[in-house]
């Protein structure tokens, strides 16, 4: 089997698996895990554009997620508009915020970008927790009962599953498109060596900024989708550091800077999380952190390239052994 055909077959199998999953495992619990998985895959893939491809590790992507989550419910609370109308506003706010953070930090080298993202995310989290206009620490609620299909408030998990799947496919298509364009090569050049990229004429700052803007916009959409499904948001659920850390871990586990890396990471981490939650219940509420910590240490020690990298190396050595 040649290489192109093999990977195409893998993609077709993956697509078929994702399409049929809620039909095969039709219990509400499994469908909920499926929806959670898709949402995690969307956020991590969005993070992957700036954190993986461009190598600018953000640990505060929850600020874009939170903005995307808050605006739909703000529109609903203030004017009674369907939450979905808040998505463009959330994207606009996320892009504005990414400009505020990216403009100064992309001029600097070192840890500034990562630290600035954490600081701003924490700033917004604390601030929303005290601001009554956005519900303070209590948070905001969406429509409890759908007034029409446009509220996107369904009892079944099924519509959410396919909606999220469509967004994930769009995001992966955009990422593939980027990968093959000049922009994608710029990003990889910057990740490999910023100085070398600049000396070869890559507009480093502008490229990093574009990557951040794109990533922020999609993360904001992920936040909106989350809130449209759950119908509730509070400061920790939108801007908490655990949300940012989850995106980083999922992408790093699967393979940061690869198309399907975040998908693989989410495929492993989300079922694992649900399993620990189910097995240990409330006693194990802190176990998620330990799981995250353990995974980070293991990736850092043994597989800095993530599982996707490991798989590719295994495949290559297999090929060498049997075809050469």
């Amino acid at each position: 089997m040649n290489k192109a055909l093999g990977s195409r077959l893998a993609v077709v199998l993956l697509a078929a698996g994702l399409l049929l999953y809620p039909m095969v495992l039709s219990g509400a619990f499994y469908r909920d895990i499926g929806v959670t998985f898709l949402l995690a895959a969307i956020s991590a893939s969005a993070w992957n554009i700036v954190g993986g491809y461009a190598g600018q590790v953000s640990v505060g992507h929850s600020m874009f997620f939170g903005l995307g989550a808050y605006t739909p419910l703000m529109f609903y609370t203030l004017w009674g508009w369907p939450p979905i109308t808040g998505i463009p506003a959330g994207i606009a706010l996320a892009i504005g915020l990414s400009l505020i953070i990216g403009t100064p930090t992309f001029r600097l080298t070192g840890h500034y970008f990562s630290m600035a993202t954490i600081a701003v995310a924490e700033l917004i989290r604390i601030f929303t927790g005290t601001w009554d206009f956005v519900g303070a620490a209590i948070g905001l609620q969406g429509p409890a009962i759908a007034r029409g299909w446009w509220d996107l408030t369904f009892r079944s998990e099924l519509p959410y599953y396919y909606l999220f799947l469509a967004v994930l496919v769009t995001l992966l298509a955009v990422t593939t498109f980027i990968e093959r364009r000049r922009f994608g090569f710029y990003l990889r050049a910057i990740k490999a060596s910023e100085r070398a990229a600049r000396s070869l004429g890559v507009p480093v700052r502008r490229t990093k900024m574009q990557a951040l803007v794109l990533s922020a916009a999609f993360t904001s959409v992920a936040g909106s989708l989350y809130v449209i499904k759950t119908g509730f948001i509070d400061p920790d659920g939108g801007f908490g550091i655990l949300i940012s850390v989850q995106m980083v871990i999922i992408a790093a586990l699967g393979g940061a800077g690869t198309l399907f890396g975040p998908l693989v990471g989410a495929l492993i981490l989300i079922p694992l999380q649900s399993a620990t939650n189910t097995w240990f219940g409330a006693d194990g509420s802190g176990l998620t952190y330990i799981l995250y910590g353990g995974i980070i240490v293991l990736i850092a020690r043994f597989e800095p390239g993530g599982l996707f990298d490991l798989w590719q190396r295994a495949r290559n050595s297999f090929r060498k052994r049997f075809h050469a």
Partner: protein, 201 residues
């Protein structure tokens, strides 16, 4: 600790260092706040009409002594020069017969030790829980960025400034806003004076 550093070094890219966020000690110490029993550090002293808690006074004196000691170590000793050489150019330092790995572990050890002393000093004055260290970690970065990277005395001044700002904003705006003010200051700093107060970069 040095094992952890060796693991992290495999990343070799500096921006991957904050994987250290990972491990939070909830399971070992439980999420409750704890504080030390009242000791001879508990009282206050009257210093020319100003009442100072003994714990904070002792903490402040030790902190200043430690910072000055670190400054002298880094600027006036062979070890300090070697550390700075590795920071400046790893490959060139290696050619001069310095072992970068050893120096980096030493730097990590020094920094972890100093942070440990800081924690012990603060534990004499404040109640403590497993998640308290997180905000301090970020604020420590803000302090260093304000002081200028690589400048120990800059950190000392910046630490005083940030501490004052926190205390004053907690007094005027309310305790919950003190971190917001510091983070906002950090963003403003990045925009207008990224090299910090005493930095060279």
């Amino acid at each position: 600790m040095s094992f952890a550093v060796r693991c992290l070094r495999r990343f070799s890219r500096p921006s991957d260092l904050h994987y250290c966020f990972a491990i939070r000690p909830f399971y070992i110490f439980s999420a409750n706040f704890v504080s030390l029993p009242q000791t001879w550090l508990a009282g206050t002293v009257n210093f020319a009409g100003v009442y100072l808690p003994v714990a904070q006074l002792v903490g402040g004196v030790i902190a200043i002594a430690l910072t000055v000691a670190l400054h002298i170590l880094l600027t006036h000793s062979t070890i300090g020069s070697r550390l700075l050489a590795v920071a400046e150019d790893r490959a060139a330092a290696m050619l001069m017969g310095i072992r970068p790995d050893r120096m980096q572990m030493l730097a990590w050890g020094l920094s972890a030790g100093a942070a440990g002393i800081a924690g012990a000093l603060m534990a004499t004055a404040y109640p403590w829980s497993p998640s308290v260290g997180e905000t301090f970690g970020l604020i420590a970065f803000v302090v260093v960025a304000l002081g200028g990277f690589g400048s120990v005395l800059g950190s000392l001044y910046a630490g005083l400034i940030i501490g004052l700002i926190q205390a004053v904003s907690a007094f005027w705006l309310g305790a919950i806003y003190k971190d917001i003010v510091v983070y906002g200051l950090f963003v403003a700093l990045l925009w207008f004076r990224p090299q910090g107060l005493m930095g060279k970069a």
